[in-house]
Assembly symmetry: C2
Homo-oligomer: 562 residues x 2
């Protein structure tokens, strides 16, 4: 044994190993490590597998040989199979003199590579009895078998590299987990920027597919409108043929999604076709072929509403599905991530519903009450609703923001709310009003303002309140209640004033026939800049000319209803 | 040179190194690595520093020597100082024959250890010209200087370990980042489970302190009630003396927090006392001594509200402060994390405000309208508000959930809303009603139900609607409008019926004196189980006996107001 050579080679191997070990990217590290093994062994080819403890499998990470052998990359074999599996179980290297004749050799893998294989050295990479991977080198010189020191060098190389490989792999996994957690936190931030249900569902599905790297995702919600027989309805689906899955329903408790929603369990299947619970109906309807599936419940938490409102209780509101993971089965990490994601999505969906319900309750009650107030004057049925429609049309035509348009909608609906405090006898009087009665009638502006400026309402309705108080003011100062003029009349009141007069002129009254829309617009146009805001009058005229669906008179609406 | 000894020692060192390298925890790995260096160098003591590129500093991670030397742990020295710094810059090991006489030796560090230092070998740990750390061993045998192979062994050890140390450190940092991202995602999920502002602010502060590991945190919001002179108000502060910071105000644009909120910039200061912008007022008011500070704006994003509601625009709503980072300065990672956290917090605060505004608008408008309806009957002022108070007191006494109590509050407020459609002449008639008038008067139950059961309202008010329709039904079937009896009367209507009669009896009417609360309860008690739900009557009696603040009659309320 030539010690001079050996120490030189040992130091050389260590130097090369430590240079290789500086790689921080797993793929590059494994690639150069295998190069090193093949060179040091004077071999012709080699493979490097990493061990996947979650599935007790060996995964091909690097292959050195001919081009065809690259097809092996990413392939998974059970850790119990092949020479690699045997070496891993034995925790000892195996030298094979003739690969083709070894009964442990996996022919299906061997045939993938066109190289004629003769000898093989198979070195398990182990840390403290924990398998990390396997290195195989092929076609080393036959005399290497007898040169113990050659094999000792490979073992030294393995010992030096195994820790670096293990830590780099951990680093890689931790990096990936960190990126996914970061993505999840980002998603949380972005999901909370919309309370619009449809937009929310779309975002949820897009994010889920990115996060899990799968072919398709879908969200299902419990639809209990038809109380005794609730169904699950698929709201949005992404991926190829996703559009065909949207709107599909599944009976409650049926199928995999139904089971998940009914029990709160998580289901992960590598091959859905073998599972009796799989509801074929959806695949048949969509033409999408489901292979692997990960299905989690949408668990909305208990949400504290604050103040007098109490809390809504935690409940399952539906489920989310990820279909056909790309590049392998769904992992434990996928399950944990999708579960966290689904909980987040459920929470935000619940917030969206709470907001929408409160908002709809607000608007619905105002419409109902305003109509009840209008109904007290039998000649004024649905007046406020029409004035609101006309006001919104004007606001849209003026290019106001959605937020301002909402204020216009609310303020115009409420403009006559003060009539609640005007006696029936005056409201409903068929003939002319006396001077005293006129004062009382005109007080609906100040009464409405007073009713709606109590306590906190004043802050919340600060944009709307002038519509109540000032919608009978005129630009020239000849209006009421205060006779203010020009810019002192708020923009919202100027809009509502035009809408209000347009409805009065075009509606039936005991003492007059209804005017046509065109005649009413001509009347307003004549007085624009004098009594009425010119821009508002012009906006109404434009909206009418365009056939804006909201600008229809009482008579036209009655004709439409038949 | 004895090669037999050398190869034996090389293999032995490599074996020991690879065993040590299997450690996955950074502290344990560094500790055992330094042991190995000290042993292989036959030294008496040693230190291991890691290089911190963010601050160009060397940080003591392990010290081997006497107990006193442990005080060095965690200490940071500029990378330009000492022998360690010199070796790192030179990228070459340094051997010092007499530490005490070396001009580069940092006496302030040397004096911390009681050991008499003689020789020192200082080995920089470098990967591809990138500094990772420095190992120093002290008091090696003097002849080691001449035994090159001894030092070569230490260099081999360094080469093998540097990659493992570097990757383990990266792994440690990535793990920490992953944990923080996971914490952020968890926080996102938990923050969205409350819309209650105060609870939210408290959660935000608790999470921020955990996340950043600092002594105190506070949230500041722009308070623009006093429009021309907005201030920043500290809402919740955690940490020692946190309570004293709550409610403190800072003029807009002043102080560090004011600057951050006005400009949207992030400010990080290692020593706040040197910064002119620091607003001393807060420290003086709280007695808290601020050293380091990290201050970020609360940037609420544009939020899509859906349907007709439009969107609210993005804006800065305040700022968040973290004070006195524990165990070092705030890092780049802290800045990124706190920024992400603050954006999340701002979003959820904005959602909470939106919900609260909509909710307050809803309740405020209902109260205002109901009062306007009550006012039409001059003998019935504020009747609905009192009935609502009594109903809520009964519901509380019955132990109903907050959610149910809210339905009771709304349903009872609305119970007489149908009177909007009853003529003034009947509502306000001083004497007895005729049979026809009575029919009209009683129709307020069905009218109220009809007004409020339009379109989507029916679903949203499904719990409340029976309170409108059935509050004049009686258990024995002698009520109206439908004469239903017993359990067919909904629970909410049974509560409102008791509250309604209690108010009618205890209020002034043109034809009768108001009854005392006790007489009214006696009346109800006599009829409990016959006309009125026994549990509801008993609940009202208990609430009154306890002095429940809501159970006060019209007369008592008038007296309180003076």
């Amino acid at each position: 044994m030539d010690h001079d050579l050996t120490i030189h080679r040992v130091l050389n191997v260590i130097q090369r190993a430590t240079q290789t070990a500086s790689q921080t990217h797993l793929t590059a590290l494994l690639d150069r490590t295998l190069d090193l093994f093949v060179e040091e062994a004077h071999a012709e080819a080699g493979t490097l597998y990493l061990y996947d403890p979650e599935h007790d499998a060996l995964v091909f990470h690097v292959v050195k040989g001919d081009a065809a052998s690259q097809r092996l990359l990413g392939m998974r074999i059970p850790a119990s199979r092949g020479v690699a599996g045997a070496a891993l179980r034995a925790r000892e290297p195996i030298f094979v003199h003739n690969v083709a004749e070894d009964p442990r050799w996996d022919r299906s893998i061997g045939e993938l590579a066109s190289l004629q294989l003769r000898t093989m050295y198979c070195l398990p990479l182990i840390i403290d009895d924990r398998p990390v991977g396997v290195v195989q080198v092929f076609n080393l010189p036959a005399d290497a078998i007898d040169a113990d020191e050659e094999l000792i060098l490979l073992r030294i190389l393995g010992n030096v590299m195994v820790n670096v490989i293990d830590k780099t792999r951990l680093l890689d996994e931790t990096h990936r987990r960190e990126r996914r957690q970061r993505a999840l936190a980002d998603i949380a931030a972005r999901l909370t920027t919309t309370l619009d249900r449809q937009q929310l569902l779309t975002l949820i599905m897009d994010y889920a597919r990115d996060l899990l790297n799968c072919e398709a995702t879908s969200v299902w919600e419990i639809d209990d409108e038809d109380e005794p027989n609730p169904v699950l309805r698929s709201h949005v689906a992404t991926g190829s043929r996703g559009e065909k899955v949207t709107g599909v329903t599944v009976p409650f408790g049926q199928g995999i999604i139904g089971h998940v929603v009914a029990t709160g369990a998580i289901i992960r299947l590598d091959d859905v076709r073998n599972d009796a619970r799989h509801y074929q109906g959806v695949d048949q309807q969509s033409g999408f072929e489901t292979r692997s599936i990960l299905c989690v419940p949408l668990h909305a938490p208990s949400i504290e509403l604050g103040a007098e409102r109490g809390r809504v209780e935690a409940r399952i509101i539906g489920g989310a599905q990820a279909l056909n993971k790309i590049g392998g089965p769904f992992t434990d990490d996928d399950v944990a991530l999708f579960e966290a994601f689904a909980n987040l999505a459920a929470t935000v969906l619940q917030l969206s519903r709470l907001y929408a319900d409160t908002q709809n309750l607000l608007l619905g009650m105002i419409k109902a009450l305003v109509e009840a107030v209008d109904a007290r004057d039998r000649n004024n049925q649905r007046h406020s609703r029409r004035v609101s429609d006309f006001s919104v049309a004007i606001a849209e035509e003026l290019g106001l923001s959605d937020e301002q348009i909402f204020h216009v909608r609310l303020g115009s609906l409420l403009h006559d709310i003060g009539k609640i405090g005007v006696p029936d006898a005056i409201l409903d009087k068929p003939g002319r009003l006396t001077d005293e009665e006129l004062v009382e009638m005109r007080s609906h502006t100040t009464k409405g303002y007073e009713i709606m400026s109590q306590e906190e309402l004043k802050r919340l309705l600060r944009v709307e309140l002038p519509a109540l108080l000032q919608h009978h003011e005129r630009l020239d100062g000849n209006g009421y209640p205060h006779g203010i003029s020009g810019d002192r009349i708020s923009w919202i009141a100027r809009i509502v004033a035009v809408a209000d007069v347009f409805d009065a002129l075009t509606s039936t009254r005991p003492y007059k026939e209804p005017w046509s829309a065109e005649r009413a617009i001509a009347y307003l146009t004549e007085r624009k800049g004098v009594e009425f805001d010119a821009a508002c009058v012009e906006a109404l005229a434009r909206a009418r000319a365009k056939g804006h669906p909201l600008v229809k008179t009482q008579v036209e609406r009655a004709m439409e209803r038949g």
